[in-house]
């Protein structure tokens, strides 16, 4: 049992921190970048590719580096510390993760190779209007005609769906179950309407009308379980990203308390404020522990154990993230309400992360359904 990074992991962290921190240390730069489409810096995306970051999770045969979950988590934390807008989570972890888990060897080499090289942005079009956070597709359907598959229905919101070069679209299969299909960004019958989200991110409505797609993996195969596991891993990585953002929020808040003066003294003179900062620290440390643990469970656990760990860390991040975010704004006061100061946008991003893959109450519901099935939790027996 070891909760520390080895030398290589520290080197990776420092390298990513150097690259991302250099770009977005100045919050005004992020603000400018997210104002214009595609909502991130294409050159920065290319630099991440050069560093090997975009291929981190994928095997060497697929054009990647073959790194483990701890390394992916390190990248997510570093991106979270500056809320860097590049779509690592949506494109590499989620969409790329599904192609890696379910694609054929050719599909993996082609799609992941281009993704790792920074030549292609990938997006997983899964969420459907009127539905919440399941692993299956229902309203987007797949139809087979010989070797040709077409898709019909609407996906929304789809992260970076308008910019994506390739969409991975989940769809209800004719014989039941959920499949996934690779759809080119310029495919016929595809209408993409992109928009900005409140945290400077990008999402899109993806309308499919008899749109051709090639089945991911064997045609007609039910991929619900693969989708579920990739979503679980993404939840854990989103938690890593949220942790990075929470760390920045606490640091910003304590710095502010030490420098801002009212009534002729700095704010840290007031115990009503410092005690609340102490509670933020407690929330952050508890979150940190669950994030590290759940990240390690990805490597050590069964899909069921990864699912449970994903629910647990998401619940903690939801509770802890809201606490730290709300208090960060309150302890700053009016300045944190402004768009030109970073704190408000960090809170906005935490709010988005909370709702992309299942919020705290959703996870509470999931965990509640299983609570009678075991005696006590043992985090080391995975």
């Amino acid at each position: 049992m070891d909760f520390t990074y080895d030398d290589e992991q520290v080197a990776l962290r420092d390298a990513v921190r150097g690259l991302v921190g250099k770009a977005y240390h100045d919050y005004e730069h992020r603000r400018q970048v997210v104002k214009a489409d595609p909502g991130f810096d294409e050159q920065q995306w290319a630099r991440l590719a050069e560093m090997g970051v975009l291929g981190l999770p994928f095997s060497e045969e697929d054009g990647g580096v073959g790194a483990g979950p701890v390394e992916i988590g390190i990248v997510c934390q570093e991106l979270g510390r500056t809320i860097a807008p590049e779509p690592f989570l949506a494109s590499v972890v989620l969409a790329g993760g599904l192609v890696a888990a379910a694609g054929t060897a050719e599909q993996r080499a082609e799609v992941l190779g281009a993704l790792a090289a920074g030549e292609s942005v990938l997006s997983f079009a899964h969420q459907e209007p009127g539905r919440r956070w399941g692993a299956s597709a229902e309203t987007v359907t797949a139809t087979q005609d010989g070797d040709t598959w077409t898709l019909t229905g609407v996906k929304e919101p789809v992260l970076h769906g308008a910019r994506a070069d390739v969409l991975v679209v989940s769809a209800a299969l004719p014989d039941g179950g959920t499949g996934a299909f690779l759809v080119a960004g310029d495919a016929e019958g595809l209408t993409r309407t992109g928009y900005a989200t409140y945290d400077g991110g990008r999402a899109a409505r993806i309308a499919l009308e008899g749109t051709p797609g090639s089945p991911l993996g064997a045609p007609g195969l039910d991929l619900t379980a693969s989708i579920a596991t990739v979503l679980d891993i993404t939840r854990i990585m989103a938690a890593n990203q949220a942790l990075g953002a929470m760390q920045t929020l606490l640091k910003a808040t304590t710095d502010y308390l030490k420098s801002r003066k009212q009534f002729g003294v700095t704010l840290n003179t007031f115990q009503a404020l410092t005690f609340r900062a102490a509670d933020m620290y407690t929330s952050l440390e508890l979150t940190h522990s669950l994030v590290d643990w759940s990240t390690m469970v990805i490597a050590a656990g069964s899909p069921e154990e990864v699912a449970a760990a994903a629910s647990r860390v998401s619940l903690q991040v939801s509770r802890g993230g809201r606490h730290v975010g709300q208090e960060a704004i309150q302890l700053h006061g009016g300045i944190a309400m402004t768009a030109e100061y970073n704190v408000g946008m960090f809170v906005a991003h935490l709010t988005a992360l909370d709702h992309l893959f299942g919020d705290g109450d959703h996870q509470l519901r999931v965990l509640s359904s299983e609570v009678a099935d075991y005696d006590l939790l043992d985090p080391l027996e995975v």
Partner: protein, 391 residues
Amino acid sequence: MQLELSEDDQEFRAEMRAFFTTGVSEEIRRTVIEGRELTRDQIVEAQQTLNAAGLAVPHWPEEYGGRGWSELRRHIWHEEMQRAGVPTPLAFNASMIGPVIAHFGTEEQKQQFLPKTANLDIWWSQGFSEPDAGSDLASLRTTAVKDGDDWVVNGQKTWTTLGQFGDWIFTLVRTDPDVKKQAGISMLLIDMTSPGLEVRPIELIDGGFEVNEVWFEDVRVPGANLVGELNGGWTIAKFLLGNERVGVAPVGATKRILARAKDLAKETSDGEGGTLLDDPLVRARIVELENELLALELTALRVVAHSAGGEPHPASSVLKLKGTELQQAVSELMVDLAGPASVASGAGDESDLPDWARTVTPTYLNLRKASIYGGSNEIQRQIISRTILGL
């Protein structure tokens, strides 16, 4: 980063679990698990069983019974003990005065006290708090004045837990009233049978008498019972309180009680054909508590993994703060599960209500103390905001 325990540590854990579940009196463990009060003799028996197996004071220096374990093994030892319902060694002996004497005591004091302290042949009481010195411990007023080779002690200590069983009491006394308050304090070991020493019980809100006032009226204490340097008591107190904070998050015991709460909810009728565990609100409350306890347990593991250098991990204040909050929250859940039966604390053997339901409210009320002792949770927030956050 790696989740699994090493093979050696897994084996160690299995060994601890086997001993605690088979080598310690079943009756004593059942008393703990069912939340009933242990007698003095049971507490002594449990500690002597542990001591005979070399498991009472593993964190002491090896020459006095310590085992030289890693922080992780100490953590495993502590968790497994709680999980099995084994009473942890008396904190006043094992966590407080034992390490102090081993670190600051004279050779004679070590010989005289350490073996008996480990074996609970001497039951120690703690004489720190006073009516006007709670969180502000350094403002204590009990005095010790030199008279020949002896010290003459006058004053009053309070909140002395289990002082009614005490043989000896370790006290902080004012030995120099003319300097900064922290600089005039010394530690004295006092035989509780000394003339002029009186223990008076304090009835608490749970109806019990676990704490006491200890009065000193011209109590003569041999000069040889001074621990460490004259006027060096504050350093010793900080050393002792630092140790106290680490062991004060009862993760294993709280987990065990929460698991029991779940069992009881499963077997308790909701009066409408189902059980309490069918209620989504009860389930959600249990899940939230389990998750917070999981986060706390993992934080404790992160802390022990980082404490190898000797300095406590900065997050150790989080353990005390959150650990006691969760301990209290689980006791509160137990009261709510018992429902109307929770009122019947005084019911006797002829009662139709379940035994467990009669003890839950006194326990809940009793545990309000947890966020007050060991450095109140407000003191912990102060430590976090000052020491960790630099505020």
